[in-house]
């Protein structure tokens, strides 16, 4: 215990990662009826966590990977440890989580103001931050899995935050159940590893996979199973429909969910044990296919919806697909870097959308545009910055990370992945600018809503005056994030150096056998090499022109004067419907549930319950009662008849024994 206070690094880790949990407990137990105090506590503690994370990053920027661990339990030859693993990847992610969670909580001061569940909201936000931070710095896969589930739990609470709304509680349930489907695979993978390898420590696992300490069959099987967890958490192809529904939660929750926590957890886990995954070629190919399918499917869905948050939700899914593609094709840094930049600009996009939604009380981009969305200058500028970053336009952060991913994909022998990546980039730019143009240049101009808007320019000042504290609580985090999106891209090379160092110079791990990490280093160097290739003009031109092409198409259809503002897809209603209904995936799941689960399994279980369990207990009752009834005939009520029988029997016995 004393070691925590003696070692400043450990102290900062423990404090930063666990303070939000105590905040949650305090809020739920003591300050639930004082929303103001609850929010201050929560924001204060997450700010401390963010400061701890940043100082850890600064302090350990040049240090080798650190590992703290203590034996948790021992069973036979099995040692389960509990500890923290601080390497560049976890430090980077810890910082992202801390900062984004902090900004989102500050933003929520404005967005959630006056909500009856204000304290509850902050308690769950703290829980979410705690779970995610602990997941990030977990030292073993089992520990990671525990906090992974905690993250799922917290997101269930927050998605279903407006639990009195039917659709919200359903969405929470859907997210929870779909995640469980993936997690079953994850857990089976872990058990398989535990049986086959006997150790779940992250460094050990990565080390063993890269030195062929694991048999190829075991490696592939467990990697595929663990990847199921990524599919569930990061909303990859078969399980992607929970994420758009998760928009039922409050908008800041969506921002947090989509950028730094929940869905990022899947990709983070993938990159966490990246050397392990890269030991299995088949698993990587599988992941690449899944990532590509996800990316294209969800981009197509984003092209037809009019719901502001839905667009960003689909775009998150598709960007996650990008990250999985990058990681699966060996671009360790490209994937992690896109995760980082994406966290920034996706939080920005959601928070900006939240301001619009808060102001206009609708999610429909057409109505927001008509009612004068562009008059809110700060969010309008910021959302444009975010969309530019998402579309991958220079000099915004998305440009750099998308280039990195494209260059990794271009290095693949099969060019189809690269083509898919480029096509996805066009779609991304198209749907994000479709939204921007809808708000910025609404059809038929702006309809005047407030009567005082007639007095010319005074309306804008009036609105800001009207909101004051609430508006600025939301605007400041947004502006900070916009700034981050603007400059983060230029930090590519220092970040790359920082991240790749953990793989090239394994630091403490070198003690385990430095030469053995050659394979990892090789894979990593491959990715790094491609990243350097991004200087190749051909690739750069292709990448940039993909983004610009998308924006141009969007402008043709939605931006320019006299544009139809319908989109080319509306000419083919069948495709529109296909995209709008999410490729009928929900319908398919519904059918599957109805026919297989409800009609098949559930009715069988019901039958078992009614007939076998209930019937068995009823049978015991009937037997007992019946036998009781049978013997009660002996009790005839004729006392002297009974006595006579007794005497006769006794007499007969005497006669038998005497004679």
């Amino acid at each position: 215990m004393g070691a925590i206070f003696r070692d400043p690094v450990l102290f900062a880790t423990v404090l930063g990662a666990n303070l939000p949990f105590f905040t949650m407990a305090v809020i739920l137990i003591f300050t639930r009826h004082n929303p103001r105090l609850s929010s201050q506590l929560s924001v204060g503690s997450i700010a401390v966590s963010a400061v701890c994370a940043i100082s850890l990053l600064a302090k350990l920027f040049f240090a080798p990977a650190l590992q703290y661990q203590t034996l948790w339990f021992v069973s036979g030859k099995l040692n389960i440890v509990f500890g923290y693993y601080l390497d560049p990847l976890s430090l980077l992610m810890l910082t992202i989580v801390g900062i984004i969670a902090c900004l989102v909580q500050i933003y929520s001061l404005g967005y959630m103001a006056g909500d009856p569940g204000y304290s509850r909201y902050y308690a769950f936000q703290s829980l979410f931050a705690w779970a995610m931070m602990n997941m990030v710095i977990a030292g073993s896969m089992l520990q990671l899995f525990i906090f992974w589930e905690m993250v799922g739990l917290a997101s269930y609470f927050l998605i279903g935050f407006y639990y009195e709304k039917w659709s919200a509680s359903q969405a929470g349930k859907k997210a929870f159940v779909m995640n469980r489907v993936g997690d079953v695979g994850f857990f089976l993978g872990l058990i398989l590893l535990l049986l086959g390898f006997g150790n779940l420590g992250i460094p050990e696992l990565n080390h063993a996979a890269s030195t062929h300490g694991l048999s190829q069959g075991l490696l592939t099987a467990s990697a595929l199973l663990i990847f199921c967890g990524v599919i569930g958490k990061s909303a990859q192809f078969p399980l992607l429909t929970w994420l758009p529904d998760a928009m039922e939660g409050p908008t800041p929750v969506s921002a947090l969910l989509h950028s730094a926590t929940m869905v990022a957890a899947g990709v983070y886990m993938f990159s966490r044990i990246f050397p392990f995954f890269s030991g299995s070629h088949d698993a990587m190919q599988f992941a690449l296919v899944i990532g590509t399918v996800t990316m294209l499917l969800s981009s197509s869905m984003a092209m037809v919806t009019y719901d502001l948050k839905q667009v960003w939700a689909y775009s998150t899914v598709s960007q996650l697909g990008y990250m999985v593609m990058a990681l699966a094709s060996g671009g360790y840094f490209a994937g992690v870097f896109h995760l980082t930049t994406h966290a920034g600009f996706k939080a920005l996009l959601f928070l900006c959308s939240g301001i619009f939604i808060h102001e206009f009380h609708t999610n429909d981009m057409r109505i927001i545009g008509k009612q004068g969305g562009r008059k809110l200058k700060i969010p309008m500028v910021c959302i444009t910055v975010g969309a530019l970053a998402l579309a991958g336009v220079f000099p915004f952060s998305g440009f750099f990370s998308k280039e990195a991913i494209l260059s990794v994909l271009a290095a693949q022998p099969n060019k189809i992945w690269f083509a898919a990546g480029l096509f996805g980039a066009v779609l991304t730019a198209y749907y994000s600018f479709r939204l921007i143009f809808h708000i910025l240049l609404p059809m038929g101009g702006i309809e005047e809503k407030h009567h005082h808007d007639d007095h010319g320019g005074s309306s804008h000042e009036h609105e800001e005056e009207h909101h004051g504290y609430i508006f600025w609580a939301m605007a400041i985090p947004v502006m900070i994030l916009a700034g981050v999106s603007l400059v983060l891209g230029f930090a590519e090379h220092p970040l790359e150096h920082f991240i790749m160092r953990s793989v090239n110079v394994p630091g403490e791990l070198a003690a385990h056998g430095g030469a053995a990490l050659q394979t990892v280093a090789h894979v990593a160097a491959e990715g790094a090499g491609h990243a350097h290739e991004s200087g190749s003009p051909m690739l750069l031109i292709l990448g940039v022109s993909a983004g610009l092409l998308g924006i141009f198409v969007a402008w043709l259809e939605y931006g320019r004067k006299g544009a139809s503002r319908k989109g080319f897809l509306s000419h083919v209603p069948a495709i529109w419907k296909l995209f709008d209904l999410r490729w009928f995936m929900d319908v398919f799941y519904r059918k599957g549930l109805d026919t297989f689960m409800y009609a098949g399994l559930t009715s069988l279980f019901t039958l078992n319950d009614r007939r076998i369990i209930d019937g068995g207990i009823d049978g015991i009752c009937i037997f007992t009662e019946g036998s009781g009834r049978l013997f009660s005939f002996l009790q005839s009520g004729m006392l002297q008849f009974n006595l006579l029988l007794m005497v006769l029997c006794a007499g007969a016995a005497v006669l038998y024994f005497v004679i």
Binding site: F631, L634, G637, M638, Q640
Partner: protein, 102 residues
């Protein structure tokens, strides 16, 4: 006249009378009295055997005393049960008390 068999015959007669009473009386008090007859027949047996076969240890007499105490207790309990039954049913006829028959 003064032999063991005389006492045994008297005791057997007494027992038979008691048994007859207990089997055919419908009155509960009558049945209770018959039970006393049974007990006394047994007592008479004990005393006779004690007197003629094993005079030195007075085990037979002691047992007889015990049985008499027992009979007193039994009479007390039996009578109170009969009293309670009478309060409930206004009758001490054995055939009235068959509510719990199967």
């Amino acid at each position: 006249m003064n032999s063991l068999s005389t006492y045994l015959i008297i005791s057997a007669l007494l027992f038979s009378l008691g048994l007859l009473g207990i089997l055919q009386r419908r009155n509960l008090i009558g049945m209770l009295i018959s039970v006393e007859l049974l007990l006394n027949a047994a007592n008479l047996n004990f005393m006779a055997y004690n007197r003629f076969l094993a005079p030195d240890p007075v085990v037979g007499q002691v047992i007889t005393l015990f049985v008499m105490g027992l009979a007193a207790a039994e009479a007390a309990i039996g009578l109170s049960i009969i009293l309670a039954l009478y309060r409930k049913m206004h009758s001490i006829n054995i055939e009235a008390a068959q509510k719990m028959k199967g």
